[in-house]
């Protein structure tokens, strides 16, 4: 389980939007898992079980608190000189916007995005962890990635949003 911690932390970071809140979530999940280790069935995936515990705790927290941490302002552009500096700064800002975009996604889209695009799960595995059909995974993921792309590059006028194939795609 210790070997899994970096991945659990990444998952929690993406769900909560901050490493501190994420670590609280990891801690809560590990404590719960350790106290219920007997409930884990040998032969099943330990990490899927852990992700499910974490997901459950997180959803409980979201529902009971309905409080979100205030958003951290984007870094004001510093005095980094040179083109490389600017590009690195732009890349960092893009990633900050990505994090905000993920935080703004509906819970169910955020979970799917985190499992598939951040933790690298297959659609089938994500469907098993979340207990939904694969088709649901696919459509949530498409919506989440569209949104994320658009927010990530919102200030870069040169980059067009993702086009739509269907006329009424909302």
């Amino acid at each position: 389980m210790v070997a899994m911690l970096p991945r659990l932390r990444r998952f929690a970071y993406a769900l909560t939007g901050s490493t501190d809140l994420g670590d609280d979530l990891v801690q809560a999940a590990c404590e719960r898992a350790l106290s219920r280790l007997d409930q884990w069935q040998k032969g099943t995936r330990l990490d899927s079980w852990m992700f499910r515990i974490m997901q459950t705790i997180w959803i409980d927290q979201m529902r009971t608190k309905k409080v979100r941490g205030h958003k951290i302002d984007l870094d004001a552009a510093g005095d980094v000189a040179g083109e490389d500096g600017e590009r690195a700064m732009e890349a960092r800002l893009t990633l900050k916007r990505v994090r905000s975009a993920v935080e703004e996604l509906p819970e169910e889209q955020r979970l799917v995005l985190t499992l598939v695009s951040i933790d690298g799960r297959s659609y089938k595995e994500a469907a098993q962890i979340l207990d939904v059909p694969v088709g649901t995974i696919t459509s949530r993921l498409a919506r989440a990635r569209r949104r994320l792309y658009e927010v990530a590059y919102e200030t870069t006028a040169k980059i067009a949003p993702i086009p739509s194939l269907e006329p009424n795609n909302g």
């Binding site: 970071y13 993406a14 990633l95 690298g120 799960r121 659609y123 696919t138």
Partner: protein, 279 residues
């Protein structure tokens, strides 16, 4: 003909379609620049998401989390069997086999860079780009060992580890067509944590020369492969390679001996695992 929509395109961009559908999508994409753009942007969004939350994979795990596991859980003590397997004979047998059933393979040259230390917990991963496999891998200089983590399930390396028998290889060509990667699992074994692990080699060829990465990855219960160690060697284009460095080999060998539980799996045992999806 398959109808292109967001669901199909996202599954395509994640490598989630079956071969037949994927081929249909590929054909349809040829005449549909808008759909191509969507695929590209979906992939870009996935890359961004992965990058945005990558810090925990590169940091030390905070003490407070590690503390949770400090009290010894009353599990059986880990077997400390440091039995040293002599891999040289196994390797020699493998090399013979390779040369009989495959095209000639360049011997690695001077050690260019070297991923250490040899702690069993070490998890390094070479920069493997999301959808396109190894696009970050080959540069004119030594590849960067950038972050710890799992090998992306959409990568060719993952596919090779998952399904390709040892000493057979998969090939991929980079998006720009300039780099050819040959990915070849070398051997399979069970480690001291009862995980299935494989040693593999990626030979990355460009006009300017090639690079050769030998790594070890282990498969977690979730089906994800995590790289444990990698040794990178550079092979100049002029063919003036020197024999493989003893230092690099002994480091890799030492590592294998440290984590290998028994002898490497034989062909039959490996074939069974490949067939059953490593169950």
């Amino acid at each position: 003909m398959v109808k292109l929509n967001d669901e199909v395109l996202i599954a395509y961009s994640d490598g989630e379609l079956d071969e037949k559908t994927a081929a249909e999508v590929e054909a349809a994409l040829k005449d549909d620049p808008v759909a191509r753009e969507i695929v590209h942007k979906f992939q870009e969004a996935a890359r961004l998401a992965g990058e945005a939350f990558d810090d925990p994979m590169q940091e030390e795990v905070p003490e407070r989390l590690l503390k949770l596991f400090e009290e010894p859980q009353s599990e059986e003590a880990a077997p400390d069997q440091s039995n040293i397997t002599d891999l040289s004979q196994i390797r020699a047998a493998r090399e013979t086999k390779r040369h009989t059933n495959a095209t000639a393979f360049e011997e690695p040259g001077t050690v260019r860079r070297f991923a250490l230390p040899l702690a069993a917990s070490l998890a390094l991963i070479i920069g493997i780009g999301g959808g396109l496999g190894l696009s970050n891998f080959t540069t004119s200089s030594a590849p960067e060992v950038i972050a710890a983590g799992t090998i992306p399930q959409s990568s060719v390396l993952h596919a090779a580890l998952e399904r390709t028998p040892s000493l057979q290889s998969l090939e991929e060509v980079s998006g720009d067509g300039l780099t050819r990667n040959q990915i070849e699992p070398l051997l399979s074994f069970v480690d001291t944590n009862d995980r299935h692990c494989r040693e593999y080699r990626i030979t990355s060829s460009k006009v300017t020369g090639s690079q050769d990465l030998t790594g070890v990855a282990c498969r977690g219960g979730d089906g994800a492969w995590t790289q444990q160690i990698a040794v990178v060697q550079e092979i100049p284009a002029n063919g003036s390679y020197s024999p493989a460095s003893g230092q690099a080999n002994s480091a890799l060998e030492g590592f294998l001996n440290e984590i290998m539980k028994d002898e490497p799996l034989d062909e039959e045992a490996e074939a069974l695992l490949l067939d059953s999806g490593w169950q």
